[in-house]
């Protein structure tokens, strides 16, 4: 599923900065080919033309927004990071712990073109005066691990990493760290704790990682796709990057969109930021025969369900945010009319309950309760008041009430599913009228 469904001829350097070098046969782009196709030129350019301040400013101007799902401006994050001649040099951490349900975009980038990520990290390292980079990789991504490891060795041998990057006198290196399998490690401060060998609990902010991150030093955590966008910004400039999305969106650049679920061709496409859900769904060949679309998640399990009527909205951070959902990772999960919303929600909440780090009470003890209520509804053993209780819980798991964004993310599909599909939930209350659930998902399985 983690494959690009655009042919090489469609993917051109001017329009597809992330994927134009990828091969149709999915073999990785190795160092030589990467360099032949302009790879690492951005590093050469940055070392020759940029100071760390000017490089940060360039990325800030490009309005590159975080592709991990939160959409925070990468340049802004960099400019808030403590750095300077008299400051200790910290870390660049690539958040490659891609565990968002329904999301498989970073995997593609790392498996097929790891040098683009490495180049992006070197640039981020330069812009933030970091001394070391870490790629915090999802543990199950074995192929990505092997290819990154190889790419790091190749890049180091070619002088792009190490004590004296391409004779510039500047030193920077990158190490690969594979995670032990916790969704919460995608939260940047939990990721840092895990990297340090501690329990993967999120940290309180302030201090933000930019002030005091890994091992107490200034640390920038960026998503894989975010970092992969940096080389083309440096090479072609902020204006060029902005123009990539044309008038589709205020956000610049392209986005790796994708679809999973009961469509004909699940996969990935690099498209201008602000492409609509309908176009993406059409590229996926539409629903499988005999099925119609009931609902969709715009960007992972921690985003709110949307309806077919939302398909014509631009998929960017602000437009989707205005619906009450979030764009998240921009990888759509489609739900067919035969699928039970109660089961689907239960399945998602089961995941989020299991992946709670256990630090704060609402998340730790509230989510498992919601799972049990959903199971009861799923099997027709719900009781009067269960739905109201779920709604109350969804509110009490909201932003500000929990320690980090995990539970608020989990509350999004729950509250939106009840909001849009209340009748399906009501059918789960014992003695209620109506037919049993269509196509329930087995407990514990996807």
């Amino acid at each position: 599923m983690s494959r690009i469904l655009q042919s090489a001829s469609e993917r051109q350097p001017e329009t597809h900065p992330l994927t134009w070098r990828l091969h149709d046969d999915e073999s990785p782009v190795l160092l030589q080919e990467y360099r032949d196709k302009g790879g690492f030129e951005a590093v050469t350019k940055a070392l020759a033309e940029h100071t760390y301040e000017s490089l940060t400013e360039e990325v800030k101007t490009a309005n590159l927004r975080g592709r991990g799902g939160a959409g925070f401006s990468a340049g802004m994050k960099w400019s808030l990071t403590v750095k300077g001649e008299d400051k200790p040099r910290g870390y660049i951490v690539c958040n490659a712990d891609e565990m968002e349900p329904g999301t498989f975009k970073d995997r593609l980038l790392m498996e097929q073109q790891p040098h683009l990520l490495i180049e992006g990290m070197i640039l981020a390292g330069f812009a933030n005066r970091a001394k070391q980079g870490y790629i915090f990789l999802r543990g199950e991504y074995h192929l990505a691990a092997a290819r990154i490891q190889q790419a790091l060795a190749d890049a180091r041998a070619d002088g792009w990493l190490g004590g004296d990057v391409r004779g510039s006198g500047w030193d920077f290196d990158i190490a690969l760290h594979t995670g032990a399998g916790r969704y919460i490690c995608g939260e940047e401060t939990a990721l840092i704790n895990s990297l340090e060998g501690k329990r993967a609990n999120p940290r309180s902010k302030p201090p933000f990682p930019g002030q005091s991150g890994a091992w107490g030093l200034p640390t920038v955590v960026n998503n894989v796709e975010t970092l992969c966008n940096v080389p083309s910004i440096v090479s072609h400039g902020a204006d060029w990057f902005q123009a990539l999305s044309g008038n589709l969106s205020d956000d610049g650049g392209t986005k790796l969109y994708g679809v999973s679920g009961k469509v004909k061709h699940p996969g990935l496409w690099e498209l201008p930021m602000g492409t609509t859900g309908r176009e993406i769904l059409e590229r996926a060949g539409g629903m499988r025969d005999g099925l119609t679309l009931k609902s969709w998640l715009p960007g992972g399990g921690s985003t709110g369900f949307l309806l077919p009527e939302h398909l014509d909205l631009a998929l960017d951070f602000d437009t989707i945010g205005n619906t009450g959902s979030r764009m998240g990772t921009g990888l759509l999960t489609v739900v067919a009319d035969t699928q039970s919303m109660v089961s689907l929600t239960r399945n998602l909440e089961e995941f989020f309950a299991r992946e709670s780090c256990g630090w704060c009470t609402p998340c730790r003890d509230g989510l498992p309760w919601s799972v049990k209520l959903l199971r009861a509804l799923e099997s027709g053993k719900g009781e009067a008041g269960d739905i109201a209780l779920l709604e109350q819980m969804a509110r009490d798991l909201g932003p500000g009430k929990t320690f980090c964004a995990h539970a608020p993310g989990a509350a999004m599909p729950l509250s939106s599913a009840i909001h849009y599909f209340r009748d399906e939930f009501e059918r789960g209350v014992a003695h209620s009228q109506g037919k049993a659930h269509a196509d329930p998902i087995p407990v514990g399985g996807v």
């Binding site: 309180s204 201090p207 009470t361 609402p362 989510l367 498992p368 009430k401």
Partner: protein
């Protein structure tokens, strides 16, 4: 200061606090779990939510966790807001999802913070209808019982155990709603402070196993304000009694001293009070018979009080010249009364001569070097620490815990420099990481504090002293230099001196545990040098061994050696020995000789010691639980401990009395005078008048007639039950409750037990709605601060007056000798104290006694751990299994302090001691050379 508006009321609060701290300090109730006044905020439990508004016009506001919200000037908040109240109820409901309904059988019930908070929020209906998650429990050793099903996952246990106390063997395991707090496998908790888990845990996950063994609800316990007698730190405790037994010891908050925390020796070492073999009635021993059978355990003939006093007086009168031997584990009042009885010229402190000389020297150094003696709280604010010779975790564990907080305070300072408040505990950890704090430890053996130190140095006592002198010289070149110092030591001394000079409040710690005058002199020289370098905010802590060592030194008197000499020479023929086992202080044959020569030996004690077994008349004394008096701690703090219960109320046969009362009666009998009533206040007053240094004692404690609203102070909670029935097995008539004429406390639930009237003497902390130890909030000027009436105790050390000069007597380097080993005593928390060693839980926790030697030495000699090794001295030989000491230097052998072996091997003056080592039992020939 800042003004905050809480539910329409305006309050002035500290700007640097968080809202929870500020509101609780104002006396407002907000429920909380993960926050702890000594451990700061982490925002985990989400229980303390309040509504915060942008300004006076904002009527929507948003929920914030008050523990994580800094105080802002002109902030509008609401505790009573409906959304906030509902959310807090919801949080409790979530916490209760897996919490069992076992309050009736839970040992936390009645002093449970979770119960209190549940009632406070009003959550009383369970909507959760599914299965609860369950856990398996662990055996955590003799001190702590474990019931994980009750856990509400507040993380306080690991935050205390790991972050606050430096323990490594208790952690959080698992994730989501399956978090487990325990060890990686069953086993005794290794921390010296594990007992605090019972008070830190807001519910019944970690409870007091020693209490469990004879359980009583907290509301059925009788308490008194007391002071721990198990070392010289002077921690405040609240022992709880039922049916004549101490059932548990709780921490008693003293903002200057122990704060919220005790060490495990102090908390779990009370068992000697309850021993069935304690003398409870006067005993007479026929001398010839005693010498024939010589069985020390044999009980003497039981006597009534009058007969015992008469016989004791007759014996002493016949003896003519009598001396008194006091004790550093008895109160000032008892020691003073003894001194009055025998005359000041005939009074011995009961302390061996070498130790007494060192105690006197320590007092001089505290007075003369110019550096003041810090309280434990002040230690926590020192910014560089040099420890010479003391393994603090073993010799004064609570001091070690304060040293650890000083190290942690570095992180707080770093955070505050970055505008992150010091109470934001996890953020402080993030920022501090393992930031180096200038803590230097020079001790013979490795300790758990090493991990947080900037430098450690393992050496024999003389070498430790030489390092100290070298530091003094590095600080001030006019201090004498040290000859033949190797480069590494010289460099270390320079480094230490630099760090001490860079600090605002450098602290030097040394003490008695290695019995080395040279170390004390070295510490004194460092202190002097710091003072001369204008480090006037610096501090000097000198660790004494016993609860009243400082008091006895102040009281004055001769050494124990002098006393024995007087008896041996026949200069004195009668002796009164107060709560002192002479056999733990000087060699047995010497004590035997002296006591045999004496024609009359009167012993007052609460334990059957070898000395008691040599008494012609033995008078049963009260322990700290059955008596009251004053102790002076190592920081010079005089503190009164109060009688917890009257032993004769439930056990009419018992004749246990306070030692000072016995001595008062004995004095009257000797003088053939009718006995006048004596009250504790009279004796305390007498001590106060006996010397200027004691003058502050007159104001130290409320006199017996002190009343609040006309009431005495209650020793028992107002829910105390069963009083009318608890004596029914003896007599259906309920006698009047015992009357306490000595203190303002009543042996009753009747009396004042509130918090509104400021008072320093608090038997148990309770306030309406606050049954757990968190009720101390209500007694404090601010949460975690000082008691509103001032912290208990009065400092007796006079203000330092600089005099004297550097010590010139610097010991020579220790030459490793082929045929001899430098023998030292290694202090130990469990087993090193004469009294707590008599408690079964402490015995279960004691490491097996062993001879510690350097691992390389052992390997060279073919000695393996556990192998029997004999240490031969001039006139003694002891055999113990070998232990490979961690870090112990070559050529040094360590004996466990307080063991029979170390008593046997100890030279008379506890001074420098050398011995030979052989493998196996004494007659084997395998002499081992280092």
């Amino acid at each position: 200061m800042a003004t905050i508006h809480v539910d329409g009321q305006d309050y002035e609060v500290e700007q640097s606090d968080n809202l929870l701290h500020a509101c609780l300090s104002l006396g407002l109730d907000i429920p909380y779990f993960c926050w702890h006044p000594a451990m700061g905020s982490v925002g985990a439990c989400r229980q303390c939510a309040v509504k915060q508004y942008k300004d006076a016009d904002d009527d929507r506001g948003m929920l914030v966790m008050s523990c994580m919200a800094p105080v802002k000037d002109d902030a509008y908040i609401s505790i009573d807001d409906e959304e906030a109240k509902t959310f807090r109820q919801t949080v409790i409901e979530w916490l209760m999802v897996n919490h069992p309904h076992d309050c009736p059988v839970c040992e936390e019930g009645g002093h449970c913070h979770l119960q209190d908070m549940t009632v406070m929020t009003g959550h009383d209906r369970r909507r959760y209808r599914f299965r609860k998650r369950t856990h398996r429990n662990q055996n955590l050793g003799p001190f702590i019982a474990h019931e994980m099903n009750r856990c509400i996952t507040c993380y306080r246990c690991t935050r205390f155990y790991q972050d606050y106390a430096g323990g490594e063997d208790l952690g959080a395991f698992g994730a989501h709603d399956n978090i487990y707090f325990g060890r990686h496998q069953d086993g005794t908790l290794e921390s010296e402070f594990s007992g605090n888990l019972t008070e830190v845990c807001p519910t019944g996950v970690f409870t007091d196993q020693t209490h469990s063994d004879h359980y009583t609800r907290k509301w059925d316990l009788q308490f008194a304000p007391s002071v721990c007698h198990q070392c010289a730190s002077g921690c405040n405790i609240s022992p709880g009694e039922r049916y004549g037994d101490i059932r548990r010891i709780e921490n008693r908050y003293n903002g200057d001293v122990n704060g919220y925390f005790l060490c495990d020796r102090g908390r779990f070492g009370y068992g000697y009070v309850n021993r069935y073999d304690r003398p409870t009635r006067p005993e007479r021993r026929d001398r010839t018979q005693a010498s024939k059978t010589a069985t020390r355990e044999t009980a003497g003939t039981l006597l009534e009080i009058d007969e015992a006093l008469d016989r004791a007086a007759d014996g002493l009168r016949d003896a003519g010249d009598i001396i008194g031997i006091g004790s550093p584990r008895a109160s000032l009042e008892s020691n003073h009364r003894l001194r009055e009885l025998v005359g000041a010229g005939n009074f011995s402190t009961g302390i061996e001569a070498g130790e007494l000389t060192r105690l006197q020297r320590m007092a001089e150094l505290n007075r003369e070097t110019g550096l003041a003696t810090p309280s434990l709280r002040e230690i926590e604010h020192c910014d560089a620490i040099l420890v010479l010779g003391e393994d603090l975790l073993q010799s004064a564990a609570r001091v070690a815990l304060s040293v650890r907080q000083a190290v942690r305070a570095k992180g707080v300072a770093m955070s505050e420099a970055r505008d992150v408040p010091g109470w934001n505990a996890e953020a402080v950890k993030t920022i501090a990481q393992d930031a180096g704090y200038p803590l230097y430890l020079a001790t013979p053996e490795a300790s758990k504090l090493d991990a947080i130190s900037a430098g450690t140095w393992r050496a024999a006592p003389e070498e430790i002293a030489r390092l100290g002198f070298a530091v003094a010289h590095a600080l001030d070149p006019t201090a004498p230099g040290v000859d033949a110092l190797d480069d590494a030591t010289a460099a270390l001394a320079e480094r230490i001196a630099d760090d001490l000079l860079a600090a605002e409040r450098p602290l030097v710690i040394a003490g008695e545990s290695l019995g080395s005058m040279a170390i004390l002199e070295a510490a004194g020289s460092v202190a002097r040098a710091l003072h001369r370098r204008q480090k006037t905010q610096g501090a000097l802590t000198l660790i004494r061994r016993e609860a009243n060592s400082v008091g006895l030194e102040m009281l004055g008197g001769e050494s124990l050696d002098w006393a024995l000499e007087r008896l041996e020479s026949g200069a004195a023929k009668g002796v009164v020995i107060l709560e002192n086992d002479l056999y733990v202080r000087l060699p047995a044959e010497r004590v035997d000789r002296a006591l045999t020569r004496a024609s009359s030996v009167v012993v007052l004690d609460h334990q059957r010691t070898p000395t008691w077994a040599r008494a012609d008349i033995g008078l049963p004394a009260g322990t700290f639980a059955e008596s009251d008096g004053t102790l002076v701690s190592l920081e010079g703090r005089a503190q009164r401990f109060y009688q917890v219960f009257d032993p004769s109320y439930l056990r009419p046969d018992t004749r246990i009395r306070e030692s000072w009362r016995w001595l008062h009666a004995l004095a009257a009998t000797l003088a053939r005078q009718p006995m006048e009533t004596v009250l504790l206040d009279d004796l305390t007053e007498a001590v106060a008048q006996s010397a200027p240094v004691f003058a502050p004692l007159a104001q130290n404690a409320p006199e017996a007639l002190f009343r609040i609203h006309g009431l005495k102070l209650a020793r028992e909670p107002h829910r105390y039950s069963g009083r009318t029935a608890m004596r029914a097995n003896l007599d259906v008539n309920e006698p009047r409750a015992p009357v306490d004429l000595d203190t303002p406390f009543a042996f009753s639930m009747e009396g004042y037990s509130g918090y509104r009237e400021p008072r320093r003497e608090v038997a148990f902390a309770w306030a309406p709605g606050w049954n757990s130890p968190q009720a101390w909030n209500k007694f404090q000027d601010e949460v975690g601060g000082h008691l509103r009436a001032g912290d208990p105790g009065v400092r007796l050390f006079p203000a330092p007056v600089v005099s004297g000069d550097y010590c010139e007597a610097i010991p020579a380097a220790v030459a490793t000798r082929d045929d001899r080993w430098r023998v030292i005593e290694l202090p130990r928390l469990f087993g090193g104290d004469e009294m707590s060693r008599r408690a079964a839980p402490i015995q279960a926790r004691m490491a097996p006694e062993a001879l510690a030697l350097n691992a390389d030495d052992a390997e060279r000699l073919g000695i393996e751990a556990g192998m029997p090794v004999t240490l031969t001295l001039d006139d003694a030989a002891v055999t113990l299994p070998a232990r490979l000491g961690t870090g112990l230097p070559c050529g040094v052998i360590g004996l466990p302090a307080g063991s029979a072996a170390s008593l046997a091997a100890r030279p008379a003056d506890r001074g420098e001691c050398w011995g030979r080592v052989s493998i196996g039992e004494p007659d084997s020939t395998g002499e081992a050379r280092p």
